[in-house]
């Protein structure tokens, strides 16, 4: 794509700006900020990736993945403010997701051990794990708030914290995984996934693109399951003290 063609794509930014102005939606400022951020962030990432791909150094690959995990952790932790130590719990989860998925992909030589493969795939998996973590924490905190009496009942009957929170934990894990599973049911029928589309536009063989997309889809299933379950089981003990009393959630 030429720079002229790229510049012409700004028409797609002008359309929402004009509509927003006409209908007084007051979204012009946000639209402009979003556009500028996309340009700056993606150009920066482009140059960084160029450098990392040329260097072919494992140190740079590790640094890039560490940066992705850090940013994803900082973003997801906002949703779990009430849970003690949520930052390291999310970080541990994302690291585990990365190690398990890359361990399988590289260990079985499914992908070559080069930056061109490791970094984009890590980005997709860590990004998905971050979204899953946010979905889980949102649902988990809502479940606890609305089921305080039920949790207290089980504790009052001599149940352990794990028994008391079990239903809420399972509901939150299931609820956070449903979007991943549901979107995979219609994949290819409703929308062509981003990575596959990108490869096809880039001139790759569609069958090759589908194969890589399947790899990502299957890895996303593990990512979704691992991240929800790990954050859930790492988080719930912080909601109780050593006397098996539920802590006031907002006080944490």
């Amino acid at each position: 794509m030429t720079y002229t063609s790229l510049a012409l794509t700004l028409i797609f930014v002008m359309i929402p700006l004009i509509l927003s102005k006409t209908l007084k939606l007051e979204l012009e400022k946000d639209t402009l900020i979003a556009t500028l951020r996309s340009i700056i962030q993606l150009l920066a990432v482009g140059y960084i990736l160029n450098f990392v791909f040329d260097a072919q150094s494992y140190l740079y690959i590790i640094l890039m993945v560490a940066l992705m995990i850090s940013v994803a952790t900082l973003n997801a932790r906002k949703k779990g403010k009430g849970i003690q130590g949520i930052t390291w719990k999310i970080a541990v989860t994302l690291c585990t997701v990365e190690i398990v998925t890359q361990g399988v992909l590289l260990g079985f030589h499914i992908i070559p051990a080069t930056a061109q493969y490791i970094i984009p795939i890590s980005g997709m998996l860590i990004g998905n794990a971050m979204v899953l973590s946010i979905l889980f924490l949102n649902r988990f905190t809502a479940e606890i708030t609305s089921h305080q009496h039920e949790i207290e009942l089980i504790l009052s009957l001599g149940g352990t914290p794990k028994q008391a929170i079990h239903r809420q934990l399972i509901h939150a894990i299931k609820a956070s995984m449903i979007p991943t599973i549901e979107s995979q049911k219609t994949i290819g029928l409703v929308q062509l996934p981003g990575m596959m589309s990108g490869q096809i536009i880039g001139g790759a063989d569609p069958i090759q693109a589908v194969q890589f997309q399947l790899l990502i889809i299957f890895a996303l299933l593990t990512t979704a399951t691992l991240s929800s379950i790990m954050i859930g089981f790492l988080s719930y003990p912080s909601l109780f003290n050593e006397r098996m009393q539920i802590l006031q959630f907002k006080e944490l």
């Binding site: 009496h149 207290e152 009942l153 089980i154 009957l157 149940g159 352990t160 239903r167 006397r243 098996m244």
Partner: protein, 239 residues
């Protein structure tokens, strides 16, 4: 008389708000003690301290002459049962709700036992397979009482368990609690706003106001309180 629960200078504070202030007193073994007082007096908090759902900020609580913190929490809560005011039901049938105390211990409740407990609270067999959440408030309160009885606790804490019941059901539950108390020598601590109930069922009464234990003794004190604030509260309830 032997004590079941002793409070010694017990205070409870949450978020800088003092809910209970220097409570000292004894609940006697095998007796029914009613807790009366206006809403917000700290009665429910006091029950939760007895069951270990909360711990005091200051002071000492003993259960059967042993400091409460020496008990393993789950063992304490089986020994000191509690029927919560909200009568929360878990998702599922009445049977699943009744079986909950056993399920938590990895044990089973037989249908025969479940029916027997249902009969105890004045409900018939047909309720067993009904969805607990679909029952009326009064019926849920009865299930909650039956469920609390299943652990066969030596101390029972009852938080306004008859507030949503019709007069006949109130009478049935009062008879049941009296029967359990007499037959098994179970110690009962019962929060109630019903002064007739406190007088007719309770051996002893604690009157609480603004987080303090303002008067305690034989239930007949409700007929002739010495504290003017208590007298005013009782007048208000009677009116």
């Amino acid at each position: 008389m032997e004590s079941a629960i002793d409070f010694h200078n017990v205070s409870f504070t949450v978020q800088d708000k003092q809910i209970l202030k220097m409570i000292t007193g004894t609940f006697f073994k095998g007796k029914i003690t009613t807790l009366v007082g206006p809403s917000g007096a700290g009665k429910t908090t006091l029950l939760k301290l007895c069951n270990g759902l909360l711990s005091p900020s200051a002071g000492q609580i003993s259960i059967n002459q042993q400091a409460i913190e020496q008990y393993e929490p789950t063992a304490l809560r089986k020994q000191v049962g509690m029927a919560l005011q909200a009568a929360p039901m878990i998702t599922g049938t009445v049977f699943e709700n009744l079986a909950l105390p056993r399920t938590l211990q990895g044990k089973q409740l037989t249908q025969r036992e479940a029916i027997s407990y249902l009969h105890d609270v004045g409900l018939d067999d047909r309720f067993l397979n009904r969805t607990a959440q679909e029952l009326s408030g009064g019926q849920q309160q009865k299930i909650s009482i039956a469920r609390t009885l299943i652990n066969q606790s030596s101390i029972l804490l009852l938080d306004e368990i008859t507030s949503a019941l019709d007069p006949q059901s109130v009478h049935d539950i009062e008879s049941l609690i009296t029967r359990i108390n007499q037959k098994y020598q179970v110690t009962i601590i019962w929060i109630t706003h019903n002064l007739r109930q406190a007088l007719s069922i309770g051996h002893y009464t604690w009157v609480m106001m603004d987080g303090r234990l303002v008067e305690s003794g034989d239930s007949s004190l409700l007929n002739a309180p010495t504290n003017p604030a208590v007298a005013q509260f009782i007048q208000g309830v009677k009116a």
